[in-house]
């Protein structure tokens, strides 16, 4: 080997080392980026996220009708309640450990619902809500009550008054809880639709279908779905499932159900393929043995084949959950981008991934909170993928 050859070979090898290092660099950069930007907000109090707190000043006209609601039994002893105002307050702490006062309960007939915005922003639904932080209640003829005196004092001061100058309060901003709950709902609903259909299809194609043109056609029709970009599925959700759910449920626009149905369609090929792979691994001797003992196809499928294919179905489920958590393009159309805190299946709200999209398309983009959500998504998705890797390895070893 000439030295020139060696040199050239070294250069060539060096190129592959360099190329391979790019993957490592990219992955580390993504991790570094989301952790540097997002870890500041990452804690269990994320639900109580006051990063982008919006401050409100609510005033009120002379009150004539007071609340009639007695203190609900669901509220604990640590909640101080004003019957006149239908308002329950509770002492809390923010992340820095300062005393804050949170709204624990607002009665349906509370006069506080008649508050107007003193800053004259046109908020859609202005008013004091559960979870808000009260920073001050100011009166006309006595000192303002501040959080440092505690919730009990604030309620007592308020209870004796029939009017106040203004209530200063803030919402906590970035309500991730809503998106988290939505994501869990959507995962459940999607799997509810996609798993049975997907598994049944896989069983049919693998156990029952004869080898003929029709079977091949069905197979290729399902196969084509894998190549369709997710935004096209989103359009389908918009054109098919949104009108469908609006017509037959109480929904009036894109909702969790239409989103879940759309996701179910996206996941069908994934689930079908993964289940089929696991069915294929089950040795034919098992089937023959079962049939020889007098079981029919159905019994064989349910009692012999499916139990052996369970790890594959598990894998399919895990992969599906990962996809659901990460999916954004389709859901922007099929669920919508409204971040909400009170979740219902027929209402608007948005999953974690779409929540990121909403944050990024806002002016100005909230990169910190987006990164925090990204950390949560990344950790879940990567754990799921590694689990799948381990499960399938174990699974392959079973039959070897």
């Amino acid at each position: 080997m000439s030295s020139k050859r060696k040199r050239i070979d070294l250069i060539y090898q060096g190129i592959t080392y360099a190329a391979a290092s790019i993957a490592v660099i990219v992955l580390s950069m993504i991790f570094l980026f989301v952790f540097r930007n997002g870890s500041g907000l990452l804690n269990f109090g994320l639900i109580v996220n006051d990063y982008h707190a919006q401050f409100y000043n609510g005033g009120i006209e002379e009150v004539t009708e007071f609340s009639q609601t007695p203190k609900p039994s669901s509220l604990g002893d640590d909640v101080y309640y004003s019957e006149n105002w239908g308002l329950g307050l509770i002492d809390g702490e923010d992340r820095e450990g300062n005393a804050i006062i949170e709204v624990a309960y607002v009665a349906a007939d509370s006069p506080l619902h008649k508050m107007y915005d003193k800053n004259e922003n046109d908020y859609e639904d202005f008013g004091l809500k559960k979870g808000n932080i009260v920073t001050a209640i100011k009166f006309y003829d006595k000192n303002s009550t501040l959080p440092i005196y505690g919730a009990e004092f604030m309620i007592n001061e308020l209870d004796t008054e029939t009017v106040f100058r203004e209530i200063d309060y803030s919402n906590l901003g970035g309500g991730i809880r809503g998106s988290l709950v939505t994501t869990l709902y959507v995962i459940g609903l999607t799997l509810l639709f996609a798993l049975p259909i997907g598994i049944f299809t896989a069983i049919y194609l693998n156990e029952f279908a004869r080898k003929n043109r029709i079977t091949d056609m069905l197979r290729s029709l399902i196969e084509v779905l894998t190549g369709v970009p997710s935004i096209i599925f989103g359009l389908m959700g918009l054109a098919v499932f949104v009108p469908l759910t609006v017509r037959y449920t109480s929904a009036d626009s894109a909702n969790l159900l239409s989103g879940s149905l759309t996701l179910a369609v996206i996941l069908l090929p994934v689930i079908i393929r993964s289940t089929e792979e696991s069915l294929k691994v089950v040795p034919d001797d098992f089937r023959s043995a079962s049939l020889a003992l007098g079981a029919n196809r159905t019994q064989t499928t349910f009692k012999v084949v499916l139990p052996n294919a369970l790890p594959g179905i598990m894998t399919a489920t895990l992969l599906a959950i990962g996809r659901i958590i990460g999916e954004s393009a389709a859901l922007i159309f099929a669920i919508g981008t409204a971040v909400k805190d009170d979740i219902s299946i027929f209402g608007k709200s948005t999953t974690l991934a779409v929540h990121i999209w909403s944050l990024m398309t806002d002016e100005p983009a909230n990169i910190e909170l987006a990164s925090t959500i990204a950390i949560i998504i990344l950790i879940i998705v990567l754990i799921l993928n590694l689990t799948v890797k381990l499960v399938s390895r174990r699974f392959i070893k079973t039959y070897e």
Partner: protein
């Protein structure tokens, strides 16, 4: 008539079960078949519904605005002349060009990196390192597109903004062709790497041995023989990569900059792709602005289909290496 009767009696025969077990068997069997038909029908539903919605702007008069001219729509270089809801002068010609342009530029960037990484994992790296790298590539593939979009918007855009300043170009906050290409390259890199690796590992070892026996070095063999033999599989990975790049939506829309006219070839110009256009103006739920999104969807599907067909044709021309 006679035939139908025969069919009917046949069915009767078939449906006369001798036992409960048989009836259950039949019902379950039908249920499985139904599930399969449902699964297979979705692609048809997608095509029909999107075509139906997407045709509306061209065949109706759009509440008095007049029908959109299809030829103009496909060849025009401005997204919308006039104001929304008061004009039917939509066009996606430049967007089609932009979409293909950024997709193929991304391929140009990701392809060599991906293939070389695959070669490294399959042939050069020690076993342990290869395993770690494979896991890293899988992780990259598992990262959702929205996270890539966040990464692009949060890190790549500011960099490009500064980079453009050096050249004296004032870019729109970094939103540009370059940003789009970079983000897309990152996203298709794992796809290309993983599939190329499979292709490289499936190269028959006797071809390699032949090359080595002729006195070629290991490296020469890897680059000249292995890559050539795997080129069909590598090309297949490229086709998949382009498909992904064309259909990628959220990440692109966060870094493209939403150009209203074009086409944009300069690296620091803002651009817009078919997918990012579809994600614009989400507020409308009715009227031409809503329907036109489906028209863009049809265009996207056609573009992806044509690109796939073309590339598969090219792949056939490139051919397979067969050593007999």
């Amino acid at each position: 008539m006679h035939k139908i009767h025969e069919l009917y009696t046949n069915m009767r025969e078939k449906l006369r079960f001798n036992s409960r077990k048989e009836r259950v068997d039949f019902i379950i069997h039908s249920m499985f078949l139904l599930a399969t038909v449902v699964s297979a029908s979705f692609i048809i539903i997608i095509v029909i519904f999107i075509a139906q919605e997407g045709m509306i702007p061209f065949v109706t008069d759009n509440d008095g605005l007049g029908a959109v001219n299809l030829w103009r729509f496909l060849t025009g270089f401005t997204w919308l002349k006039g104001t929304a809801f008061q004009s039917n002068l939509y066009a996606v010609g430049y967007i089609i060009i932009n979409t293909l342009y950024v997709a193929f530029l991304s391929l140009l960037l990701a392809m060599p990196i991906g293939v070389l990484t695959a070669l490294f994992i399959a042939k050069i790296a020690p076993k342990k390192i290869a395993e770690v790298l494979r896991t890293i590539v899988e992780m990259l593939a598992a990262i959702p597109s929205i996270v890539y979009g966040l990464f692009g918007a949060g890190l790549i855009l500011p960099w490009i903004y500064e980079f453009a300043k050096i050249f004296g170009v004032q870019s729109k906050g970094g939103n540009s062709v370059l940003a789009t290409v970079l983000v897309l390259s990152l996203m298709i890199l794992p796809t290309i790497t993983a599939l190329s690796e499979v292709a490289i590992r499936s190269v028959r070892s006797d071809i390699e041995h032949g090359s080595l026996a002729l006195g070629a070095t290991k490296t020469q063999t890897n680059f000249k023989v292995v890559l050539t033999s795997a080129k069909s599989g590598i090309f297949a990975s490229a086709i998949l990569g382009v498909g992904r790049a064309l259909g990628e939506a959220t990440a692109v829309s966060l870094v493209a900059g939403n150009a209203r006219s074009g086409p944009s070839f300069g690296l620091f110009e803002t651009t817009s792709t078919l997918t990012s256009t579809m994600l614009q103006g989400l507020k409308e739920t009715v009227g031409i602005d809503y329907d036109i999104r489906f028209s863009v969807g049809i265009v996207l599907m056609v573009v992806i289909l044509l690109t796939n067909v073309t590339l598969n044709f090219v792949k056939k021309e490139v051919g397979n290496v067969d050593v007999k």
